[in-house]
Amino acid sequence: MITNADWSAIILTFKLAFTVTVILLVIGVPIAWWLSRSTSIFKPFWSALIAMPLVLPPTVIGFYLLVFMGPHGAIGEFTHWLGLDYLPFTFAGLVVASIIYSLPFVVQPIHNAFQAMGERPLEVAATLGASPIDVFFNVALPLAKPGIIVGAVLGFAHTIGEFGIVLMIGGNIPGETQVLSVLLYDHVEALEYTRAHWLAGGLMLFSLVVLGFLFALNQKAFWNRNNARPSNEQI
């Protein structure tokens, strides 16, 4: 059965994933927009930096974050100077680490969506008197909506699923940093397979429902749009 400790980990995990997804959308959309519009010679560098988590083992990122956010690291000294705790082994630390780790999963699909729409709708809007801000909010964002939804879902799912980086930076503090994936590992280590089954099975079911819902939503939008008008326009 699901125990209190399990529930605590489940709630913590979703809280983390939700917080991280919201922050990632807020910073990921402008980054993706900049990447798709900029002609800067530094663009490849920034693209590479953002994409690094895709290729690096999570433990590598976790290790460096642990070092930088600790008492002797630059970020650690900064948070100390602000009068805050050191970030490792806190929920805030997990949020920061997850943001960095999941950033490419959110930026990539949004970037693709911005690129796929091309220059034309933006030029059309400009000739219709829309300022760049106006174009961004009323043309680019609505057109990139499918990409933004995909980015959000990927970011959310990826945060729920991460393990290595959490272990490196968050440890295993119940109620503070003990997330589902880590707790599951604990159960397996302790040979408590029944509890492990509940968590693992629940997570699988959850993923299936969310993804199914997402695909259904996409398909419905597609059907609605294509049935809005009888197809006699070719006459």
Partner: protein, 391 residues
Amino acid sequence: MQRNKALSINIQLPRDNFCLQVEFEFPATGVTAIFGHSGCGKTSLLRCIAGLESSAVSLIQLGSTIWQDKQTYIATHQRSIGYVFQEPSLLPHLRVKNNLKFALKRANAGEPLIQYHEVIELLGLNPVLESYPEQLSGGEKQRVAIACALLINPQILLMDEPLASLDKPRKLEILPFLEKLTRQLNIPILYVTHSTDEVFRLADQVLLLEQGKVAAHGGLAQVFSQINTPALTPLERASVIMGEIIEHDTQWHLMRVRFTGGELWLSDHQFKTFGQANIAKYQEMGNQVRVSVHPKDVSIALEAQQDSSILNILSAIIIDIGKSDEQGFVLIKVQAGPHTSQLNTPQINTLQTKEQPVELLASITARSLHQLNLAIGQLIWVQIKSAALLR
């Protein structure tokens, strides 16, 4: 708001294979066609004017408002333009009515150029208002795009080959709309095209571009009857005649069209089949018509032939003789009109009107030129085998 402001430009834009270099002042009224072959820089020129080519070194000024010079760069959304792209371009995420609203919301201040319901009516948009752009045909999309460009209440309308990406039936569907529009609007319109059909039907003035430079400019008839410009191919050269219907001979199904310097008989069949127009409609519009005559359909005779099947035989004077692009042929430019004596200077003619006399091109063989011993200033007769009604 004062309409009819003249646009003056001095644009330099390096391209891959040439440099666009145009200094020009567009007339403040009417349709100016920017005509040239593919890749001559027409579209780039229009994009520079709209502020869509930021790398151009330009001086662009509409009336007294500077859009661009060394210090100034007014962004596209702040230029008072309406722009119609070559590929029908709308905001794909909005229904047609919301595309129109998008433009309406951001319209320039001042008395509207045209009312919302007028646009809907004129462009026939009522059946498609609830649709998304992807559900429309190319022609429908382009009509919506034109409507948007008008609803923004611009001081100048820029149209980049609005019909080029459409098939023939769609073209014929939109052309009448464009004609109505261009007659109704009192702002300058720049119309980029490589189709002589569209130029002849729509334009008042022409800017002829070749390899990024101005090859010729002026009135429609004047530009297209130029003999010595490589910017026109033999098929594109034509004489455009503006005239007035003065008689309808119902027995022989002929219409009499009078122009400065003569008259033409045209089959009334053309009036009946031409687009949506019919004879009654022409009478409503003051019987004004445009006719084009191809140089190959014009022959020259030294005497008026009485025994010919050709209906239209006009007296004229030779004002220029030039080489044709086709080997063995020459182009003769004549001025129609009842000239009384041999004249050496082309500008003198016996007509009392102030209107530009009609000039016709004739394509004849070099041998005929030699045998008839034709020369500039000579009085001759031109025989016109066929003339096409443009509008």
